[in-house]
């Protein structure tokens, strides 16, 4: 592969995605189009993975300029550095898994719709996401960003028969475009100051901007943060997300959750650490982002506890989980100059959580999609007992749930553990971070409660009426993506050294020269685990290999004890207090799970409800030109003419008075001018 340059790899990936999209437009049958798209996406993914691997080893690559717009200093340049390579590894992985899953899912669930409304957009979305994470020009960054929004909007808008889904798509469109507008304004402000859209020129302008107009710099960062945080779904800007994501077909939701949502974090890292890495800015905005992150964790997750629609539960948890990533990134920015080693740990924790969340949240959407595929419902109160029929899906869902809840030894635990460590260490210096750390740890348990409900309601217990028609697990092509993603969840949890080594290099690149600690000085030299050090002090330890070995021994011991007396086993019906009931009559519905806790929080925090953005009403107002444009103009015009006609009173004395005043004014003006 030495003969293929990074540039060729990137361009061939773009080419493959685009050709795949064009080919799939012509596709007739769902299944054949699906497999064609998977083939193209797989080829493109391989190219991107080779590119990412090369970048991790060699460092960043710049490409030639394409599509130059010399007049405004914009040309399409790409730069692949280690930060983008992290995303280049994850995004195609999730995208490919979701596409493979789509083949049977779409063929079954959306048989009557047209394949050309799905696959071309999915492939183009992957292409534009690749563009977003590799381009090094602000204008083209925006163009790719917008392409990504539009293609994903088309996917949200897939089901056009359902009125609520159309509304959700509309809300998504408006919310993301308001955010994009903010970003565009920020980009244009930077352009007016630097005269260039290139990433490299931005950071060099900031110093000068900070001296001449410091307020403007803060406004620009705020606009960028609004733009990215809306896309990521941060509270309070993510109100659209729990409406829009459930509206898309499940594999598309999985792809959104795994790839698109994360680009908000990518953008914030780029903005904070590359464009505006001046101490006073990173400290202020690091603090703001960490605070919003903690808020997002708290509100998003507690709101999720109230939902009974599986995909809405997952969507609210995106808001909560994004909070963890923002907390990590914000803490990193806050301590960027004062404690670089702590900043590195926090940044690594945030990015680690990005990778983990991509895997388990996509997996959860696929699990829920599988249940929906089989039962036709997403209502947790109607499901139950699917686990006996769908063991693979249940196993994958349990792994994903324990990962998102941060239960060792699964993936979410490691990144959350690093986030707790960095916030508590930050709290030693600035006590506010202790509060964030406590919120993060407490909400991790709320997440657990939410996912216990999901697992219990979907897979465990007695089979519900909705599941009576289910005959077995989902087709093999829908099981493989789930198995691969759950393997990733386990691997990222038990072998943290692999992602840590990569993210450590990313942190070196992103934090630059201020960060000098070696890998071993930070995470210890033992490859099987982490011994976290700040300065010379050991601040925490997590060694999954030792813990797992010990747990395995303990569990084997427990099993041996239970079998020691060779007790006979027998199967019976459940005991319903001596009465004979149908299973569905005495079923404990998902809604009742931890109900007193939900009610307690409803009292403590009555206004937690995420504000619903009234975008549809707003859009109707915007589009109704009569009310705000024509109406006022007509009224103003008629008022003006009324006023004019009132001067024509028909009385000669008044006209003469007007003439006298007019002459006086003329003379006065002449006098002043000719003096």
């Amino acid at each position: 592969m030495a003969s293929v340059s990074p540039e060729q790899l990137l361009l061939s990936a773009f080419g493959l995605f685009t050709v795949g999209a064009l080919v799939s437009i012509g596709g007739r049958s769902w299944r054949r189009t699906g497999y064609t798209s998977v083939a193209f996406a797989a080829a493109a993914s391989v190219a991107l993975w080779i590119l990412a691997a090369g970048t991790i080893v060699r460092g960043e690559t710049h490409t030639r300029a394409y599509l130059g717009l010399g007049a405004i200093g914009a040309s399409l340049t790409f730069r692949i550095d280690r930060l983008s390579s992290v995303f280049l590894l994850v995004v195609p992985f999730i995208g490919l898994a979701a596409l493979l899953y789509s083949v049977e899912y779409m063929n079954h669930v959306h048989r009557n719709a047209s394949a050309r409304r799905y696959y071309p957009f999915a492939l183009l979305m992957l292409a534009s996401i690749t563009g977003v994470i590799t381009t090094s020009n602000l204008l083209y960054f925006f163009v790719f960003w917008e392409l990504m929004t539009l293609t994903s909007w088309a996917l949200v808008w897939f089901d056009r028969e359902d009125e609520t889904k159309v509304r959700a798509a509309w809300q998504y469109f408006v919310a993301t475009h308001v955010a994009a507008a903010c970003m565009l304004v920020a980009i244009l402000v930077i352009y007016t100051r630097s005269g260039s859209f290139a990433f490299a020129d931005v950071s060099s302008t900031v110093g000068a901007m900070l001296r001449t107009s410091p307020a403007l710099v803060h406004v620009v960062i705020a606009l960028f943060v609004i733009g990215f945080a809306t896309k990521a779904g941060m509270f309070p800007l993510g109100g659209w997300l729990p409406q829009a994501y459930p509206a898309a077909p499940s594999p598309a939701s999985a792809a959104f959750a795994g790839s698109m949502t994360k680009l908000g974090i990518y953008g914030i890292v780029r903005v904070l650490f590359e464009f505006f890495r001046v101490q006073e800015l990173t400290t202020v905005w690091g603090g703001i982002i960490a605070t919003l992150g903690a808020l997002s964790i708290f509100v998003g997750t507690l709101t999720a506890l109230r939902e009974d629609d599986a995909k809405r539960v997952l969507s609210y948890h995106i808001i909560g989980q994004i909070g963890y990533m923002l907390l990590g990134v914000g803490t990193a920015a806050f301590f960027l100059r004062s404690v670089p080693a702590l900043a590195a740990v926090a940044l690594i924790a945030g990015l680690y959580h990005v990778v983990n969340h991509a895997c388990y949240k996509s997996l959860l959407f696929l699990n829920v999609g599988a249940a929906e595929y089989q039962t036709g419902t997403r209502d947790l109160n109607k499901m139950g007992g699917l686990g006996a029929l769908m063991p693979t899906t249940m196993a994958a869902a349990i792994i994903a749930s324990l990962s998102i809840a941060g239960i060792p030894p699964f993936s979410g635990f490691v990144s959350k553990w690093l986030i707790y460590q960095s916030t508590i260490q930050g709290g030693l210096r600035v006590p506010l971070f202790l509060v964030f750390g406590l919120v993060a740890m407490f909400i991790s348990l709320v997440t657990l409660a939410s996912f216990m409900k999901l697992i219990g309601a979907m897979f465990l217990g007695k089979l519900s009426t909705a599941g009576k028609t289910v005959t077995g697990d989902v087709p093999i092509s829908m099981r493989i993506p789930q198995l691969v993603l759950s393997a990733a969840c386990v691997l990222l949890g038990v072998a943290p050294i692999l992602p840590l080594l990569l993210l450590y290099k990313v942190a070196q690149d992103v934090l630059g020269s201020t960060f000098v600690s070696g890998y071993a000085a930070l995470f210890g030299s033992n490859p099987s685990g982490i011994t976290l050090r700040l300065g010379n002090e050991i601040v925490g330890a997590w060694n999954p290999a030792y813990a797992l070995a010990a747990l395995a021994i303990c569990a084997l011991l427990a099993y041996a004890i239970s079998r020691s007396a060779h007790a006979p086993a027998r199967e019976t019906a459940s005991w319903y207090g001596g009465e004979e009931y149908a299973d569905d009559v005495v079923r404990f519905r998902a809604h009742g799970f931890v109900l007193p806790f939900k009610q307690a929080f409803a009292k403590v925090y009555p206004s937690v409800r995420l504000p619903k953005i009234q975008t549809i009403g707003f859009m109707q107002k915007v589009l109704n030109l009569d009310t705000w444009l024509y109406g006022p103009i007509v009224n103003a015009g008629s008022r003006l003419t009324d006023g004019l006609s009132r001067t024509h009173s028909g009385i000669p004395h008044v006209y003469m008075l007007w003439q006298v005043i007019g002459i006086a004014v003329v003379f006065a003006v002449l006098f002043i001018l000719l003096k």
Partner: protein, 300 residues
Amino acid sequence: MSALGGASFNLVVALLIAPLFEGVMRKLKAVIHSRKGPPITQPYLDLLKLLGKEDIQSGGGAVFRMAPVAVLGAMLLAAMLTPMGGKPPLGMAGDTIVWIYVISLAAVMIVLGAFASGNPFAYEGASREMMMVLSVEPIVIASVVTAGVKAGTLSLGGIIDWQLTHGPTMSMAFAGIAFFLALQANLGRLPFDIVEAESEIVEGPFIEYSGPRLALYKMAFYIRQIVFSFFLVSIFVPWPMVKVYPLAVLISLAKVLVVLLVTGLIECVNPRLRIDQSMNYMSRVLFVALAGLVFAAIGV
């Protein structure tokens, strides 16, 4: 002492001595009730009897069958992470945060096992178990973080060292008191035996378990008692620390016995609370724990 030796010692203590404490507590309760009470070896006999009893399975399925094994496994792992008269033997495998989450792994498996049994009583019990976790764990977390802030590290060994060199402090006292006030709930003892609540939801999550699997659960609860008590006495009251290892172990066993006797006493004189009353109580205890954290943040 090597990590392996320490870990096996903790394992032996957990498996063999934990039921003894239960026996002593039963005896204490009997004395308070003016009963003769069972012999203190009764828990061992109970376990042995259960191991041979028929294993009646209503749920079937791997989750139902594996849950008790995983719960006992997680509890034993927690026992290995807990210092029992010295440093935690598996300190390099996990710190206090890991300890908290290994404990919650056990709660997870209880909940999953209850769901898998398909019994509505078990669901109610699981729901209560989850709520207990949600209301009690914040206190545990806050007091552990207080210790972490004081010591500047979250590793158990580091915290104990710091305690030994710096002596008692205001913040650690608050954290310890909060931890103790939540202990009763962590052990699932009256007035917080809401999860099992024999007289209303018939053992809740464990209703469908019998025979050897019930024995595993019982075992896990005996171990949970001493794990939490050891954690309390070695993190918050590590004094006096003697150099002679067997003596140090005996001293902490004595401290654990005192702690458990106090919880037994509380159990005897209190009726069961409702889950909302319990959450109310816990939210007040949380303020004690947070007060400790505030004191730690301002350095007292």
